[in-house]
C-alpha cells in the first residue's frame, strides 16, 4: 500500500490578538472567517498568539489567509474562532519549558491513500502493526456512525408519519372527488362501458394527477431546499448544508407518491363502481 500524502491539521485558540505592522519573515497562519469577522483581523495583519489562558509568552504570526471552517454538525451553534498553524510553529508555541523538541505528540494523522478503496485494509494493517493506535476509514464514516445515523433515522420516522397522514387525507379527497363524479360514472355504465374500462380510465387519471402532483412537490422541495438552507446557514453562521434534494431522494419520493396517488384513486373508485349503474346515475 502506497502512502501518498500525509496531512496533519492542528488548531490553537487565540488568546491575544493585536494588529502589528506586517512582516513577511514571520510564520504564517490561517484564521477562520468567524474569527476574522469578530476580531476585525484581515489578511496581512500580524497577531500575537499565546498557548496559555493569561496570554504569557506570546509569539507574533502573520495572517496569510481567511478560511471557511469545514462544516461540522457537532459544533452547530458554536462560533468557530480557530487558527490553523504549521505544525512546527504550533509545537514551538505549546511546548512546555524543559520538554525537548521532538518528544511532542499529535492527536490525529489524516492519510490520503492512492486508492481510497484500500481504506479498510489499510486501517486494519495500521492497527495490527501499531497496537494502541486507532485507524478508521473516513469515507462514509459521517453517514454510518454516531449522530448522523441517528438523525437520519429520526428524519425517516418523521417522513413515515407524514406519509401516513398524507395518505389518509389523500384517500378522503379521492373518495369525495370520485363521489362527485358518481352521476357521470353511472351514465358511462348505462351506455355499456364495462367496469374494467372505467377503472382503466380512472387509473390513468390517477396516475396523471399523481405524477403532476409529485413533480409539483419536487419543484416545491427544490425551492424550499434553498430557503431552509439559507435560513439555517444564517441562523448558525455555518456553511453546513441542512437539506439536499439528491436524485435518489427525488426518485424515492416519486416512487412513493405516484403509486400512493394511483392506489388511493383506484381504492376510492372501486367502492363506487361496485354499485349498480342505475343507482349511480339516479339523482
Amino acid at each position: 500500500m502506497i502512502l501518498r500524502r500525509i496531512v496533519i491539521a492542528l488548531a490553537a485558540v487565540v488568546t491575544a490578538a493585536a494588529t502589528l505592522h506586517a512582516a513577511d519573515d514571520l510564520p504564517s497562519i490561517l484564521i477562520s472567517r468567524q474569527l476574522s469577522e469578530s476580531e476585525h483581523i484581515a489578511v496581512g495583519d500580524v497577531v500575537r498568539l499565546s498557548a496559555s489562558a493569561d496570554g504569557t509568552s506570546p509569539r507574533p504570526f502573520r495572517v496569510s489567509g481567511v478560511y471557511e471552517p469545514t462544516p461540522d454538525p457537532a459544533r452547530l451553534g458554536a462560533v468557530i474562532r480557530e487558527v490553523q498553524l504549521h505544525l512546527p510553529d504550533l509545537l514551538t508555541l505549546t511546548r512546555e519549558p524543559g520538554i525537548p523538541a521532538g518528544s511532542e505528540y499529535v492527536q490525529t494523522i489524516n492519510v490520503a491513500l492512492v486508492d481510497p478503496a484500500d481504506a479498510a485494509a489499510f486501517s486494519r494493517e495500521v492497527q495490527a502493526r501499531m497496537p494502541g493506535v486507532s485507524a478508521q476509514p473516513a469515507t462514509g464514516a459521517a453517514e454510518s456512525t454516531g449522530p448522523f445515523l441517528v438523525l437520519r433515522r429520526f428524519h425517516l420516522a418523521i417522513a413515515i408519519v407524514t406519509i401516513v397522514a398524507s395518505t389518509v387525507f389523500l384517500l378522503a379527497l379521492t373518495i369525495m372527488l370520485v363521489d362527485e363524479r358518481r352521476a357521470a360514472v353511472g351514465v358511462l355504465r348505462l351506455i355499456g362501458l364495462p367496469i374494467r374500462r372505467i377503472i382503466v380510465q380512472l387509473f390513468i387519471e390517477g396516475a396523471l394527477i399523481a405524477t403532476i402532483g409529485s413533480l409539483f412537490g419536487l419543484v416545491l422541495s427544490l425551492v424550499s431546499e434553498g430557503l431552509i438552507n439559507r435560513f439555517f446557514q444564517w441562523r448558525y453562521d455555518t456553511a453546513l448544508v441542512f437539506v439536499h434534494v439528491t436524485p435518489e431522494v427525488a426518485a424515492i419520493c416519486v416512487a412513493i407518491a405516484v403509486p400512493l396517488g394511483v392506489s388511493a384513486t383506484v381504492v376510492a373508485s372501486w367502492a363506487l363502481l361496485r354499485r349498480n349503474g342505475l343507482r349511480l346515475a339516479r339523482r
Binding site: 489562558a53 454538525p73 452547530l76 451553534g77 458554536a78 505528540y105 497496537p131 454516531g146 449522530p147 445515523l149 441517528v150 438523525l151 433515522r153 429520526f154 420516522a157 418523521i158 408519519v161 407524514t162 401516513v164 397522514a165 398524507s166 389518509v168 387525507f169 384517500l171 378522503a172 379527497l173 373518495i175 369525495m176 372527488l177 363521489d179 362527485e180 431552509i228 439555517f232 441562523r235 448558525y236 367502492a271
Partner: protein, 396 residues
C-alpha cells in the same frame, strides 16, 4: 337542532370521509404535538437532571464545561470554605479523568473516572452494596458491573489517564464497594468513582487538591441566587453558575437544532393541516350547495349555515385532536428512543418531555386550525345565492 348537532349528522351521513378526515388530523396533530414536546423537551429534561443531583451551583475555573477546562487549584480547601457559608448547605469537589480497568482483557476496559471530596452527599445513587468508604474503594456503574461481572467486594486493577494519553501511569488496585447510578451516564457509558485523594494517587500523586468542579447545595431558606452571590464574593477568581444559568447556557449553545427543526416542522404541519381541512370542507360544501340553498330557503339564517360549517370543522379537528394526544404520546416515545442513541446523551435525558404548556399550545393551534380552515368554506356558504343555486340544481 343546534348547529353542532346538525354538523354531527352531516358528518355521520358520510362516515368514510369523516373518519378519514379525523384520522388525517389525528396523524398530523400527533406530529404537531410531538414537535411541541421536542421544542423544549431537552432543556426541561436537563433542568430536571441538574435538580435531581441535589446541587444548585457549579463552581469552575473558567467558563468551560467541567472536565473540559483547567483544574481549580486547592479545590478541596475552597469546597470546605464554601461549605461554611451561611447560604450553603454542603459542597463537594469533583475531578474527572479516564481509566482503563485491567481486568477487562488485554487492552483493558475504558471508563470515566471520578474523584470526589467534601461534605455533601455524593452525586450518585447506590443500587447495590454500599457507598465507598476510606481507602482504595470505588463504586462502579451497572454497565461495568454487567460487562466485567464485578459485584461488591470484587478487586479491580486500573490505570488512570489524567491529563494526556502520553502518560503511562502505574496500575492501582481498588475494591468495589457498591454499584451506583450516575446521573449523567450515557446508556452504554462506563463510570466509576472514588475519593479525590485516591484519584489523585492513581494520577501519580500530583495536583491532589485540584478538581474540575465544585458542586454546591444552597440552604433552602437562602436560595441559589444568594449562594451564587456569596460564593462569587468568597472566590472572585472562579466562575459560579446556578442551575438556571447552566440551563440557559445549554439552551443557547448545544442542541438548538432540535428547537429549530421543531419550529419548522410545526409550521409545515400546521400549514398542511389547514390546507387539507380547507380542501375537505370546501369539496364537501360544494357537493351540498343545493342542500344548503334549500335550508336557507326554508328559513335557516346565513349565520346559522356559517355556524354549521364552522362546527363541522371543529368536530373534524376536535376529534382528530383528541386522538392525536395518545398517538402523539406513542410516537414521542418511539422518536425519543431513536434520538437517545446520539452518542454522549445521558440515559436520563429525554428529547420529548410533556409539560402542560405544550398541551395548551397544541390545543390553541388546533383551535386556530379549525377556524382558519373553515374560513373559505364559510365564505362560500355565506355568499351563496339561494335562488340561483336552487335553479341550477333543478336545471342540472
Amino acid at each position: 337542532m343546534n348547529a353542532m348537532g346538525f354538523a354531527w349528522r352531516s358528518l355521520v351521513r358520510q362516515p368514510a370521509r369523516a373518519s378519514l378526515g379525523v384520522l388525517g388530523v389525528a396523524a398530523v396533530g400527533a406530529l404537531l404535538f410531538d414537535m411541541l414536546l421536542l421544542s423544549q423537551g431537552l432543556v426541561i429534561s436537563m433542568r430536571d437532571l441538574f435538580e435531581r443531583t441535589g446541587f444548585d451551583l457549579r463552581v469552575t475555573a473558567t467558563d468551560s464545561l467541567p472536565g473540559q477546562g483547567p483544574l481549580i487549584p486547592n479545590a478541596v480547601a475552597d469546597a470546605q470554605a464554601i461549605a461554611k457559608l451561611p447560604t450553603v448547605r454542603s459542597a463537594i469537589a469533583l475531578r474527572f479523568a479516564n481509566a482503563s480497568i485491567l481486568n477487562g482483557g488485554q487492552r483493558g476496559f475504558y471508563t470515566s473516572f471520578q474523584g470526589v471530596a467534601g461534605t455533601g452527599e455524593h452525586p450518585w445513587t447506590i443500587l447495590r452494596g454500599r457507598d465507598m468508604g476510606t481507602g482504595a474503594e470505588l463504586v462502579i456503574n451497572e454497565n461495568i458491573s454487567t460487562r466485567l461481572r464485578l459485584e461488591p467486594g470484587a478487586r479491580v486493577v486500573l490505570r488512570a489517564f489524567c491529563t494526556s494519553e502520553e502518560q503511562a501511569l502505574p496500575p492501582v488496585p481498588f475494591t468495589v464497594a457498591g454499584i451506583a447510578q450516575f446521573p449523567f451516564d450515557t446508556p452504554n457509558g462506563a463510570t466509576l468513582a472514588t475519593s479525590l485523594e485516591m484519584l489523585a494517587n492513581a494520577c501519580g500523586g500530583n495536583e491532589s487538591d485540584d478538581a474540575d468542579v465544585i458542586m454546591v447545595a444552597s440552604q433552602e431558606s437562602a436560595g441559589p441566587a444568594a449562594a451564587v452571590a456569596d460564593v462569587a464574593t468568597l472566590l472572585p477568581d472562579l466562575r459560579v453558575l446556578s442551575n438556571a444559568e447552566a440551563v440557559n447556557r445549554f439552551e443557547r449553545g448545544g442542541f438548538t437544532y432540535f428547537r429549530q427543526i421543531s419550529t419548522v416542522l410545526t409550521t409545515v404541519t400546521l400549514s398542511f393541516a389547514v390546507l387539507l381541512i380547507t380542501v375537505l370542507l370546501t369539496v364537501s360544501i360544494n357537493q351540498r350547495l343545493g342542500e344548503i340553498a334549500a335550508l336557507r330557503a326554508l328559513g335557516f339564517s346565513r349565520w346559522r349555515v356559517v355556524a354549521d360549517v364552522l362546527c363541522e370543522s371543529v368536530l373534524i379537528v376536535g376529534g382528530g385532536g383528541l386522538l392525536s394526544l395518545p398517538l402523539g404520546g406513542l410516537l414521542a416515545a418511539g422518536l425519543d428512543n431513536i434520538l437517545k442513541r446520539i452518542p454522549g446523551i445521558p440515559a436520563q435525558v429525554h428529547f420529548f418531555v410533556f409539560e402542560p404548556g405544550a398541551l395548551r399550545v397544541h390545543l390553541l393551534l388546533l383551535a386556530a386550525t379549525a377556524v382558519i380552515a373553515a374560513l373559505y368554506p364559510i365564505r362560500i356558504v355565506a355568499r351563496l345565492p339561494i335562488a340561483a343555486t336552487l335553479r341550477d340544481e333543478v336545471v342540472g
